[in-house]
């Protein structure tokens, strides 16, 4: 379970978010500048909240009152940025083993190889990121994160960098993966088609969550013009 209650002011944006996520996926939607990416940076530990608390699976990642602030590398979060951020100087296997430095070499290769296979990119192990398609990069980046057994997954616009065909295909795969892994997952997206990935949709405007509920509930009683527009553009299935 991921629990957060944090606040942070950055320039004109006053971010104030309360969210509890069981082993489920939530879509964070909202207009540009609503603070979605800032929320991810606060969770990752790149930015520090001014007040509040973040806990994951009973472990406190951040607590302003208790002066707890775990470093990024101690938070055990899987993070997939928009461009997937594969290390260009390492091949696919080098990327997938990057997070397993503490394991003996053989174990490292075995675990990374397993995840690459699971995501259907095992045959690319010796290729470099520059030679991969967008979809392949996403799979490699996911394998790289998951090989570390993260306790939660943060996906930033996971399909924005893909062409429409790859986008539809990977969205379908991602949906079944998320159901299989049962990790708390936050998916930041401005694309309403991504709603099919999530059990719940949280809409963010001006740094606040204005409404969070299932797609049906958002449709029935949208709390704002943005919510109404967002859900009306949502197809019913992938």
């Amino acid at each position: 379970m991921l629990e957060l209650r944090i606040a942070r002011r950055i320039g004109a944006l006053e971010l104030r978010v309360e969210l509890t996520l069981d082993r489920e996926a939530a879509l964070i939607a909202g207009p540009n500048g609503a603070g979605k990416s800032t929320l991810l940076r606060l969770l990752l530990g790149v930015l520090r909240p001014e007040t509040g608390r973040i806990a994951l699976e009973g472990r406190t990642l951040f607590d302003a009152a208790a002066a707890i602030d775990l470093a990024v590398e101690e938070r055990e979060l899987g993070y997939l940025p928009q461009d997937y951020a594969l290390f260009p100087h390492l091949d696919v296997m080098g990327n997938a083993t990057f997070g397993l430095a503490r394991l003996p070499r053989r174990e490292r290769l075995r675990r990374a190889g397993e995840w690459l296979e699971k995501l259907g990119v095992g045959h690319l192990a010796r290729r470099f990121p520059a030679g991969l398609s967008g979809g392949e990069r996403q799979r490699v980046a996911l394998a790289r994160s998951l090989a570390r057994n993260p306790r939660a997954l943060l996906l930033d616009e996971p399909f924005a960098a893909l062409d429409p065909i790859a986008r539809r295909e990977l969205r379908g795969s991602m949906r079944s993966w998320l159901q299989e892994w049962r990790l708390p997952a936050l998916i930041v997206s401005h694309d309403s088609a991504d709603a099919v990935l999530a059990d719940r949709i949280a809409v963010m405007e001006h740094g606040q969550l204005v409404q969070q509920d299932t797609l049906e509930e958002l449709r029935r009683a949208p709390a704002s013009a943005f919510v109404a527009g967002f859900v009306s553009a949502t197809p019913d299935s992938a």
Binding site: H89, F98, R148
Partner: protein, 272 residues
């Protein structure tokens, strides 16, 4: 009308290219032109050459190691932590690029000389810096640091922030992120900056003369040897200069290999 203006503009560019190109090439051509193979081989046998060449390689190697070692950490800090302190640090590391070398030499002497600001303390502990080989290294490090640091800051700033964040989420400590992601990705820019910095150190003359003197085998680097040779024999100076030019060409060749596009990444000249 417009066509004629355009062709005049084109002609101006061609004229400027020809003029500047000639001006920059002519002295190099002159170095080769008036000299025969005999001149060159007698230059190679000049008693000043070997000690000076050895000293130049030793001191510039040391100053480069000093500048790259400290400069990489400073540049990383400045590039990754924008703020007032970083702006100050960046300005400080650029300072030597706008200080004339002779002035730098006087400054170094007033700082580290026996009666200098810091030299007095060193002297009481039995350490004399001025007019020693370490003084040559310090002078070279002083004048060449800006070239490397500026290139390194630029190279580190160009890194994709997401790569560094992802490395951290994959369990890498800040140091491992620097060593395994930052350094290798910035390597071409760092190498080009190191080469520029080294070229500046090899050519260093004024600060060395004032702070370290001109003693054969101890503080007489190649440029100072040329200066000394020039006083008695222009031919010897020319021969020594040829050796340095060939060294410079070798360096230029390496630089072009590092940056095949021609433009050198991260070598924006500091200061000016």
């Amino acid at each position: 009308m417009r066509l004629r203006a355009a062709s005049a503009w084109g002609a101006a560019q061609l004229f400027a290219s020809a003029l500047l190109g000639l001006f920059l090439l002519l002295p190099v051509v002159a170095l080769f032109a008036g000299s025969s193979w005999d001149d060159f081989s007698s230059g190679l046998r000049n008693p000043l050459l070997l000690p000076a060449l050895r000293l130049s390689l030793l001191t510039t190697g040391s100053s480069l190691a000093l500048v790259v070692g400290l400069g990489s950490l400073v540049a990383w800090r400045v590039a990754r932590n924008p703020g007032r302190a970083s702006r100050w640090m960046e300005a400080i590391t650029q300072l030597p690029a706008v200080i004339p070398p002779a002035v730098a030499g006087v400054g170094l002497l007033l700082a580290f000389g026996r009666r200098g600001l810091f030299g007095g303390w060193l002297d009481r502990h039995g350490i004399a810096l001025a007019f020693t080989t370490p003084a040559v290294i310090l002078a070279e490090a002083f004048v060449s640091a800006p070239f490397f640091v500026q290139a390194a800051i630029a190279a580190f700033r160009r890194l994709d922030e997401n790569l560094l964040v992802v490395a951290r989420t994959l369990g890498a400590s800040p140091f491992r992120t620097f060593a395994r992601v930052g350094l290798p990705l910035a390597a071409p820019g760092l190498a080009a900056g190191a080469a520029m910095s080294w070229a500046r150190a090899v050519g260093e003359f004024g600060a060395t003369l004032f702070f370290a003197g001109n003693m054969t085998g101890r503080t007489q680097t190649m440029p100072l040897a040329i200066y000394t040779a020039m006083e008695s024999d222009l031919h010897a100076a020319q021969a020594l200069s040829l050796v340095m030019v060939l060294l410079a060409f070798a360096l230029l060749f390496i630089l072009r290999r590092l940056a095949p596009g021609g433009a050198l990444p991260g070598t924006e000249l500091p200061g000016a």
